[in-house]
């Protein structure tokens, strides 16, 4: 038994190593892009003193955590060949509900946060049921729930932020565990969980199968509707989590929070190399995609770029990243034909 155990452990380490090498190879293009971006910011005279400080790095990680929570769910949904537009609005709704639970009903903090997360899950489940039981396109379904969730957040708050000014409230968004910001710790956990689901479970395989060829998946006895349901429910859950973390960081639940967040999440996934047509992509790429967008935002701020221009630069970078990937794919295909 012992020998088998140690063999397994050894092979686990070997697998991890192989996994890292594979990750490095798969994402070489965007990893280099990311490193170049960091290099530019750390030698640029304006930013060299501010960029590579632990304060700034943690700051960036804290900022991108919201986006990466969403991107974890979004990666699954996009690999499935779908899209989830409702996540930005879920951020607003779950943040407001959690803040309201504390301020209006004096519920304990833990319960309030749970309420926020669960409401995200509920909307995700609703998306999942409609998308898996009908043939209405996910774009339309989640466009509808995006508006519903946003509307509910406004109705619930009357349009103004629900402020919470307690030290405990701030913990999950603005606090620290040891020297590391809490949202970064949560992010690491969420990432590991997502990576495990995608790489080590049957559900993970099914995501790729259904996204790659839904008809073949059905022929293979995979319960396609169950897989779709899972992905959208997971995406909703992630959005709920992002909502409470953001509300905590902003000391309030705001109905305007998370506006356009779904687009940043999609951008992170796509820059990370996941195919919008489904069936192909890796969560490890999404991590880099999210980092690039986060560091880019941070760098543009540090460089004092006009915030109007920041949008233009961000858009250009997204296009460039996807374009490089497109060129690489084209070359691969050419080799294949020969």
């Amino acid at each position: 038994m012992d020998r088998v155990g140690s063999k397994n452990r050894k092979s686990t380490i070997a697998l991890l190593k192989n996994g890292m090498i594979q990750w490095w190879k798969d994402n070489l293009g965007i990893i280099i892009a990311f490193l170049v971006l960091c290099l530019i910011l750390s030698i640029n005279p304006i930013t060299q003193n501010s960029f590579l400080t632990s304060k700034n790095i943690f700051n960036v990680l804290r900022q991108i955590s919201t986006n990466l929570f969403l991107a974890c769910g979004m990666t699954m949904v996009i690999i499935l060949g779908g899209i989830d537009l409702s996540v930005g609005s879920i951020i607003a709704l779950s943040g407001c509900l959690a803040a309201g639970a504390v301020v209006r009903y004096n519920l304990p903090l833990g319960v309030a946060l749970l309420v926020g997360v669960l409401f995200g899950l509920v909307i995700g489940i609703f998306n999942g049921i409609v998308i898996s039981k009908t043939t209405i396109p996910p774009f339309i379904v989640t466009l509808a729930t995006m508006n519903i969730a946003k509307g509910l957040a406004y109705v619930y708050t009357g349009g103004s932020p629900v402020r919470v000014v307690t030290k405990e409230w701030q913990f999950i968004g603005a606090g620290y565990i040891g020297a590391v910001p809490t949202p970064v710790v949560i992010l690491i956990i969420v990432f590991i969980v997502t990576a495990i689901i995608m790489n080590r479970t049957k559900m993970g395989r099914y995501l790729y199968a259904v996204g790659g060829n839904a008809q073949a998946a059905e022929f293979s006895g995979i319960k396609v509707s169950r897989v779709k349901f899972f992905a959208y429910a997971y995406s909703g859950l992630m959005a709920g989590l992002a909502g409470i973390v953001l509300a905590s960081r902003m000391y309030s639940g705001q109905p305007t929070a998370g506006e356009g967040a779904e687009m940043d999440a999609i951008a992170a996934v796509v820059v990370g190399g996941t195919s919008m047509s489904g069936g192909y992509g890796k969560i490890g790429g999404t991590l880099i995609g999210g980092l690039i967008i986060g560091v880019l935002n941070n760098g543009l701020n540090l460089l004092n770029v006009n915030s109007f221009w920041q949008y233009v630069v961000k858009g250009a970078v997204i296009l460039l990243a996807v374009f490089i990937d497109y060129i690489r794919q084209e070359n691969k295909d050419k080799i294949k034909i020969r």
Binding site: K202, Y208, A217, F219, S220
Partner: protein
């Protein structure tokens, strides 16, 4: 040369990678005649039509229209030369009106705008000439299939086409509508239009066709005047090919009945089909394309949600509502269309092999990759699949090797009944022979195989018994001692 000749195709050759699709084909169409082309699936009928319609370009050969040599390199060339093709699948825009469809791309104009009044008037006039009862303002999606076909024909005629090709026009319309279609065809031929008519239904030939050309294996076997020939003669022309010697088959004694299906109907393509399969036998399902064979198997495999009839496995009645149920009951189905229904193209050979047996090596979040590799290697060896590694994306393998991975995937589920739908379509001769040998070994080890095949020699040489289907019904069952191609054909075109 006969002045009456409208179209002449001379010495047409066409090859695809690995396939000689047309070999020195000569074909002639006279003005005012309906000329049928007959042949088995894969005989080259549709390739010939596609060459005429400009979808494919012939490698060699000449086309003459009314004695003049023409160059047809595109669909537009064909149209300009007065050739119109009505394909089996209709290609009208469903959310546009009948008139808009007829005049699509050449709308009558008034200045910069479409002259709608004129368009509807002209369209209605055209429709009325043929006595069709359709309003030009109806949306196409509200028409029946037969009516849509009429619209297609009218559209084709409105280009002033001299040559009209109809690819199985009667396959999806009712008998009454067929009669009406024939009347329209007679009106057209009276005006001097030549019609090329492709159909599997022998009974229609005598009714509407003047001459018939039989094709087999990419060659023209001969042209006959319909009134001077018999169905038997045509059938023997269609099938009379030599059988190749690469089948492996050891027949065994009858086993007990393992699968019994009674009165299976899907209320569309399959009509009250009953059959049984014994342990250790290969049961063939023959018939022409569209006879309902694949649809019958989809019922048994749980892919059709609404079907009636009873399925018994080893004497016990079972409920099959989804492929998941079917797999649980020991049924496996390797589908006809590998790319659309089977393969996960961007994924590896390993992913494609093990997707149905994940339970054997994934427990919760513990993945035994070694076990997964072992399973994959087992089926690569069993099927002698040629692949550089198990990481290889399956899209980079040849058709034959892809098919081997597909069969391996299903064998991994240890089925009792293996359904193979056109198992050797589009794969090379060597791989075919290997697949036959594997099938023989599988039934020797006690598995039962149902094989749908449109390839006559294959189904005759591999099957213990052959069910023949036509129009959704099982029209007969032939044992391997008595079966001949002629007998199958007779049952398939009943």
């Amino acid at each position: 040369m006969d002045t009456n000749v409208l179209l002449q195709m001379k010495n047409i050759h066409k090859t695809f990678p690995g396939v000689y699709a047309l070999k020195a084909v000569d074909f002639e169409l006279r003005a005012g005649e309906v000329h049928a082309i007959l042949g088995e699936n894969g005989a080259g009928k549709s390739t010939l039509i596609k060459v005429l319609g400009g979808i494919y370009t012939a490698d060699q050969g000449e086309i003459y229209i009314e004695g003049k040599k023409v160059d047809i390199k595109s669909v537009k060339d064909a149209q300009e030369n007065g050739i119109a093709i009505i394909h089996q699948e209709l290609v009208l825009a469903p959310y546009m009106t009948v008139a808009e469809n007829i005049f699509l791309g050449r709308e009558p104009m008034k200045g910069k705008f479409v002259n709608t009044t004129k368009m509807y008037e002209d369209a209605q006039e055209l429709i009325d000439i043929y006595g069709v009862n359709i309003d030009a303002k109806t949306l196409v999606r509200n028409l029946t299939i037969a009516q849509q076909q009429m619209v297609e024909i009218i559209k084709a005629i409105s280009y002033n086409s001299k040559i009209l090709v109809m690819d199985e026009p009667t396959s999806s319309i009712s008998d009454k509508e067929v009669k009406f279609l024939f009347e329209i065809m007679r009106t057209l031929t009276a005006k001097g239009v030549g019609i090329i008519y492709i159909s599997h239904r022998m009974s229609e030939l005598a009714e509407v066709c003047d001459r018939v050309t039989v094709m087999r294996d990419g060659s023209c076997i001969g042209t006959k005047v319909v009134k001077e020939t018999t169905n038997d003669e045509l059938i023997s022309m269609m099938v009379g090919r030599e059988l190749k010697n690469y089948y492996t088959r050891d027949y065994q004694e009858d086993g007990e009945v393992i699968l019994k299906c009674e009165n299976i109907s899907d209320h569309k393509m399959v009509k009250s089909a009953s059959f049984e399969v014994k342990k250790g036998e290969i049961v063939g399902f023959a018939g022409l394309v569209g006879a309902g064979r694949s649809e019958l198997m989809k019922c048994i495999f749980g892919l059709t949600k609404r079907f009636s009839g009873d399925i018994y496995i080893e004497g016990k009645k079972v409920e099959i509502k989804s492929p998941y149920d079917a797999i649980k009951h020991g049924i496996a189905l390797v589908p006809e269309d590998r790319k659309a229904e089977g393969l996960f193209l961007v994924q590896s050979v390993r992913f494609n092999t093990t997707i149905e047996v994940l339970n054997e090596f994934i427990k919760g979040i513990a993945v035994n990759r070694q076990k997964e590799d072992e399973i994959t290697q087992e089926y690569i060896d069993l099927m002698s699949t040629k692949t550089p590694s198990m990481e290889q994306p399956i899209e980079k393998l040849s058709g034959g090797n892809q098919q081997k991975v597909m069969i391996g995937r299903w064998l991994a589920t240890s089925p009792k009944i293996l359904i193979l739908d056109e198992p050797t379509r589009g794969i090379d001769v060597g791989a075919k022979s290997e697949i036959y040998a594997i099938m023989n070994n599988l039934v020797k080890s006690g598995m039962s195989i149902i094989m749908i095949s449109s390839e006559m020699p294959e189904i005759i040489n591999m099957s213990d018994r052959i069910y023949v289907m036509c129009d959704g019904k099982i029209t007969g069952c032939l044992g391997h001692e008595e079966v001949t191609q002629e007998k199958i054909m007779k049952l398939a075109v009943k």
